[in-house]
Amino acid sequence: MTTEQTNQSAPTPGVDNPLMNALIGSRKFFTPRATMSEDKREIHYSGGRQGDSFYRNRWSHDKVVRSTHGVNCTGSCSWHVYVKDGLITWESQATDYPSPGPDMPEYEPRGCPRGASFSWYTYSPTRVRYPYVRGALLRLFREAKAANGHDPVLAWKSIVEDPAKARRYKSVRGKGGLVRATWAEAVEIVAAAYVYTVKYLGPDRTTGFSPIPAMSPVSFSSGARFHQLIGGSMLSFYDWYADLPPASPQVFGDQTDVPESGDWWNSSYLMMWGSNVPLTRTPDAHWMAEARYHGQKVISIAPDYAENVKFADEWLAPATGTDGALAMAMGHVILKEFFVDTTTDYFDGYVRKYTDLPFLVELEPDETGVFRPGRFVTATDLGSAATSEADTEDANFKPALWDKATNSPAVPNGTLGHRFAADGEGKWNLDLEDIDPALSIAEATDGIRDAVEVTLPRFDTAAQGEIDEITRGVPVVRLGATIMTTVFDLMLAEYGVGRPGLPGTWAENYEDATSPNTPAWQEAITGVPWQAAARIGREFAANARDSKGRSMIIMGAGTNHWFHSDQTYRTFLTLTTLCGTQGVNGGGWAHYVGQEKIRPFTGWLHLANALDWVRPPRQMTQTTYWYMHTDQWRYDQFGADMLSARAGHGKFKGMSTADAIAQSARLGWQPYYPTFDDNPLDIAEAASQAGKTSAEHIVDELKAGRLRFAAEDPDAANNYPRIWSMWRANTLGSSAKGDQYFLKHLLGVDNSVSAEETPEHLRPRDVDWRDEAPEGKIDLLLTLDFRMTTTTLHSDVVLPAATWYEKHDLSTTDMHPFVNTFNPAISTPWQSRNDWETWATIAEKFSELARTHLGTRTDVVAQPLQHDSPDALNTPHGRVKDWKFGECEPIPGKTMPKLVEVERDFTAIYDQYTSIGPLLESQGMNARGIRFDVDHHVERLRRLNGVVAKGAGKGQPRLDSDRRAADFILGLSGTTNGIMATEGFKKLEIRTGQKLADLSAEHEGKQVSFEDAKAAPVPVITSPEWSGSEAGGRRYSPFTINVERLKPWHTLTGRYQFYIDHDWFLEMGDALPTFRPPLDMNALFGEPQVGDSDGTSIAVRYLTPHNKWAIHSMYQENFFMMSLGRGGQTIWMSVEDAEAVGIADNDWIEAINRNGVVAARAVVSHRMPKGTAFMHHAQERTVNVPLTETTGQRGGIHNSLTRIMIKPTHLVGGYGQLSFAFNYYGPTGNQRDEVTVIRRRTNQNVEY
């Protein structure tokens, strides 16, 4: 309708009634400056508006400084910090990111509400302004110092060695009573504790923890460098947080490498699977929203109506923890429709070239004649008659395939066996040359001529600890006594895709629910309609076929935080790999859980680990560390074989998880600190006195039984850590799975553990059980922080840290290809100091005290067998042999850890900390198996930052500030130093025989300086440190170098590995991707079954996804976030579960299981599925947490209801891609298989 028509039908417009007109008109008298409309309805002002000035004044500011936030959120957003009158006022996002090009959205603005509220902390009432020491300890220390001739080390000794005194201060940890101290006194206590522990117990009894270097590598490196210089251990984080997808090292041989968020734009089919993009990838979510307009189809797979479902074209809601079943069914459809019923050229070519599908696997009969998949057939097995590779150095690590061209087995280029030996030079590549691989044996034998039945485990029907199997046929070829098939044939058997002429049980069609891995089979498990599962799988593949691989799966914590997440991920990666999407822009896996990607990798690696002064470092997988040292191992009621398939050779029989850890430590698979039941300084000294090397001495002593691995007696007084230091971390308020066990055994304070210790008949076989478990193991808990957390509350010493707007640092993420900077907007207020300076202060005092107590000593470091090194060649065929049982000799670096002597001048720790040591020039830098010679780059830093005039670092480049540490990282990494990248590629060209150096040539002259990154975020350079290419300004996608330049993956076959033939994987039933349901906590621990209710309480699956108002540990108590959230700890529940036990929205509830008790408010919502509760991650007990009705103690945190559960296969090492590297391979701190009981508090008037 037009206004003209309105005019005809309506009365003359105007404001109603004359009286009102008059009254409105009277406003003129109040507002003489105004002009008023004729109908007196409007008032307009122009000019001279004094009343506006308030807002103009408020907006004014003196300066704007660029910084960012040191958080593990994957954001790495650049922010403007506003300063007025010397005070930080607020922040807003920077918008000056380098452009991805004219036809794409931009990265601007990046940020989220959490980041936008950070400035509150600067002056918040919870800011740590001064050093604090536990009052009870400070009194003891002052007295002890007076009584010990003012020697702080002897004073510390007199306290911690006196059980009554130790008890006095340990038992009141966390219960208030922190008192202000001077920096000098606080640091003296800390340094004394370190010197004492190193001297009397061993440097490997100290440990430091700081997570996620990418979120501020300089701060990370500060304490890490100190610990490595003195011989302490550093704890891993990526695996501990369960953010590491173990499937990645298992199948790609890579820690994690994923596309930047901008690459989502290039995808035309996007599944978000267990990854709630708007909430957890807030600054990146727009790429997904915008890509939909670009014609992308979006699928959300989430058990609840998650925020991302709003954007999805379709929502599949599988029951929690059953995602693997859904993916297996999709794999079934893809294998059947795109590989068996028809051939899809693009997929077919891809899998033959880039995956292990054509590789030969030997089928091994057991004593009853049942065939099971066994080991890869290698050049050694084929023998010299069949291949010239059989006589080469690493022939055992050269798996073979069937060459149709010669109709015989052949070893292609690019296997692990080509990677290190001289004869592999120029052959470590994926060029098949004249080989024409047979995907199936049926191709080799021109149809199915010979077939056998293989038995495969299935886990969907078996009770925990029981085993069901299915029998399916595969075509085989026989070579002498060896019966072989291909991985592809095994995959079809596993997925249940039949072919005419094969024996065994097969699905009749998609609707056959009895046959594992069909669409109908998954429906019974997941609740997703079979038609939908089949259709989405088909669409994903069809899109990949039509777009040449541009189908993508964003996968996240919702699927990765489970016990069997590695298998769940392998079922997803089957989809991405079969469809040729890996190594393609817009395709592949996109795992974003944790900000793991430190783009300037090499510089950080060497700075943080002090590799410029001493090698090797001590690095420990944190999950294992706390599983043992918080004594959670004592509460496992089951053996390792409860988790296995029992399909193997009974390798886990009678073993507990602790036994598996001890074995892993003594075989050198995984690190374990403390390593031996003696001080390594004393061991080295004893060796020297005996005229032997430490390695010889240790082997002799172990054989004689006079020396033991500490892991075999973890509760002995000398076998656990004594100092735990944290910075940039809040383990006790956040990541401590089994938080209450930490309080009990590590700290020695009240707790709400109600679990019972393991009964005698289920206790470990090889690990000693002590009747009394120690409580209060740790002598010193130190934290550096700028706010009060659960961890600072429990600490013995708290040092005031600079905030993220008060220091220099760097930030990078996997989500965007830029380097950002932290810069101080104000100088550090009160008595706070930046982390680099704080650890320098501690190092200085330590060095001073060491002059009396330590001097220079020899240390012996037990280093596990390393990934990306020839250590990965130590377990032929993945066959496990243990020297302890006489199965082989103990040989350091082969069948047990490497034992490396290291000289440490403890009086020079400060000098070393503050200068770049000589080893970079004398020994080069190493990363990802590439050696960089960096003399000229170090020389540049000498000129840039000046040289040290005296002391241990004389003549070396200065490293005395956070800013100079940043220069170390930027100047000595390929991604930020174009010359270094090119030099690295040239090295790689020699090994691979492929052209690579052109990838970074366009930036060869580029040196990213701190000033560059301060001015605006700077794009990084394509470098051999990573697997993707950004050359020509393309978006980063992993493995594009592998696919386009034929560079092998760092795996056994050099290809994507569908199949893993290590003994423990066969034992676990994890040789092939398969569906593994969540752990049955009823069977394992006697917890109730989900859904059990007595009318007042109900058992639910307990999940801890990320929190909208507090991603990770740094935020929860923030005033603004609390106002937008519910103002305290909450647990989200479904309407059905809440109503079943009389819980209404916002009621106080308690969640209780054997691990602890949580007090929270209920948020009841119909977007939650029945049977599942969410307690969002990292909700702190520092704010609004009452005393519980259950125990009368303060309620716990989200991790008070969880505990550490270790999957034995994550302990494997020394074999191909299954070899240790820090944060690369190790047990995950998974926490999603847990259940809890929830009930409404009878008294809703809570007490604090």
Partner: protein
């Protein structure tokens, strides 16, 4: 014709991720101070939900905005000035603090200062108004992501008329986010409600402001605004509201909420309107005609007559240029995507919304349609999870056809662009089916998807 320039905003709800960054940056910049603790010039509501302050859309209760009198003329819904003056010291149509929320903080000091004691220290909540310990029971964002919504569905005024069509159950779940600032209306009822004449529309850009010197704290504006986007500063005793960040706008910068919007869904631009026609447009009898009437007020900045009139009205040349390249104008008038929030309030609001496309087909039902057909990759409009009636209640006074047309254009754009994305010849019938050309559809796509900084503002 009396041409006036208006600074206006469009928010594309289809891109909103509900992160509340806009709220936080706005609050940090403007209302992070005593007297405005409970005030969020910018807030984001989960819908369905009650909003902030709760139930503000229930004009039967709050009597905000305009109504037509018996003779078809505009009157303040809350009544004329006589009634106002009579009740000036006890305004009954004012939301109480409990309708916003009682702002709180915590005894944070306790964490550092607690002496050695039995339990781990914690920081209990305390009221920022009274300083006393308090029980947290409501906030400005209480029902975020549908928390507790199931039990209070009847308190969402938009659900009332369609209650029989909407089930708040797991399988039927839908939600979207509605970020809100002051509407900077062409026909602001707050201005007309103020007995002091302290609220005004800026001559040059139409931004509605409260003159802090003139405000006498009558709070009639709070009642008069149907969006409840004027707040009372309990410390200064004055009304405060979103200023469209004029100190930034005057420097050529977008508003804080827009620039910090991580979803990149906010567009700011200038539009010209004929001020002489506002009252008439606001007075059309049928509520469902208000949207068209409001849209018609906006003038074509490329029309030579309009350009001429603008120049004569003293509007600078670069402002005319700005109106011509205004993304807001394009989204409202050229692509017919943006809709006003609650046109039935007759205030002629100038913050417009593109409704959310939510083509999620039912999770439980068999959806075995042909996946090979590109168009079928996207579910049809009639399978939306968000009931179209709900959107119509928000944006078109209940006219579902208008909303369906918008959503159809968005869906058509996706189908059209998919072919281009896949390297296939695009089907020109798709844009034609929704009254567009392939060229205009691709331009629209660029504005919605590529949306570079310079094109958004």
């Amino acid at each position: 014709m009396r041409i006036m320039a208006q600074m206006a905003m469009v928010m594309n709800l289809d891109k909103c991720i509900g992160c509340h960054t806009c709220s936080v940056t706005c609050k940090q910049a403007w209302t992070n101070r005593k007297g405005t603790e409970y005030v969020w010039f910018n807030n984001v509501e989960t819908r369905p939900g009650q909003g902030y302050p709760r139930g503000y859309e229930d004009q039967e209760k709050w009597q905000g905005g305009w109504a037509l009198s018996k003779n078809g003329r505009l009157k303040l819904k809350a009544g004329g000035k006589l009634k106002k003056l009579a009740s000036i010291f006890s305004n009954p149509k004012l939301p109480g603090i409990e309708d916003y929320y009682e702002p709180w903080s915590y005894e944070y000091d306790n964490l550092l200062s607690a002496p050695e004691q039995k339990h781990i220290p914690t920081a209990p909540p305390k009221s920022l108004l009274t300083g006393e310990r308090m029980d947290i029971k409501w906030s400005g964002n209480w029902d975020d992501d549908l928390g507790g919504t199931y039990a209070k569905a009847d308190l969402d005024p938009m659900l009332k008329s369609i209650g029989d069509k909407v089930k708040l159950e797991f399988e039927e779940t839908f939600m979207f986010y509605l970020p809100r600032i002051c509407e900077h209306c062409l026909n602001p009822s707050c201005v007309a409600s103020c007995p002091s004449g302290a609220i005004y529309k800026r001559e040059e850009d139409g931004i509605v402001l409260v003159d802090q010197d003139s405000c006498r704290g009558w709070r009639m504006c709070i009642s008069g605004c149907p969006y409840k986007k004027i707040y009372f500063n309990h410390r200064t005793g004055k009304a405060e509201k979103c200023t469209f960040c004029y100190p930034r706008i005057e420097n050529g910068e977008p508003t804080v909420c827009a620039e910090t919007c991580v979803g990149r869904l906010r567009y700011i631009g200038l539009v010209f309107y004929d001020a002489d026609k506002v009252t008439e447009a606001a007075s059309v009898p049928d509520e469902k005609d208000l949207f068209a009437a409001q849209k018609d007020l906006i003038l074509d900045p490329h029309d030579p007559d309009v350009m001429d009139a603008a120049e004569r009205a003293g509007i600078p040349h670069d402002w005319i240029m700005a109106a011509q390249r205004s993304p807001v104008y394009k989204l409202i008038k050229e692509y017919d995507l943006a809709l006003p929030l609650h046109p039935e309030y007759r205030t002629m609001p100038m913050v417009w919304y593109i409704p959310p496309l939510s083509p999620v087909v039912d999770v439980v039902k068999d959806t075995g349609y042909d996946a090979e057909n590109a168009v079928n990759l996207f579910a049809a409009i009639d399978e939306l999870r968000i009931p179209i009636e709900y959107l119509a209640n928000l944006f078109t006074a209940g006219d579902t056809d208008v909303v369906a047309d918008v959503l159809r254009r968005m869906a058509a754009m996706r189908a059209f662009m998919r072919d281009i994305n896949m390297g296939v010849e695009p089907d020109v019938r798709i844009p034609h089916a929704v009254g567009m050309t392939p060229e205009s559809m691709e331009e629209m796509y660029r504005l919605l998807a590529i949306a570079k900084y310079d094109e958004r503002y």
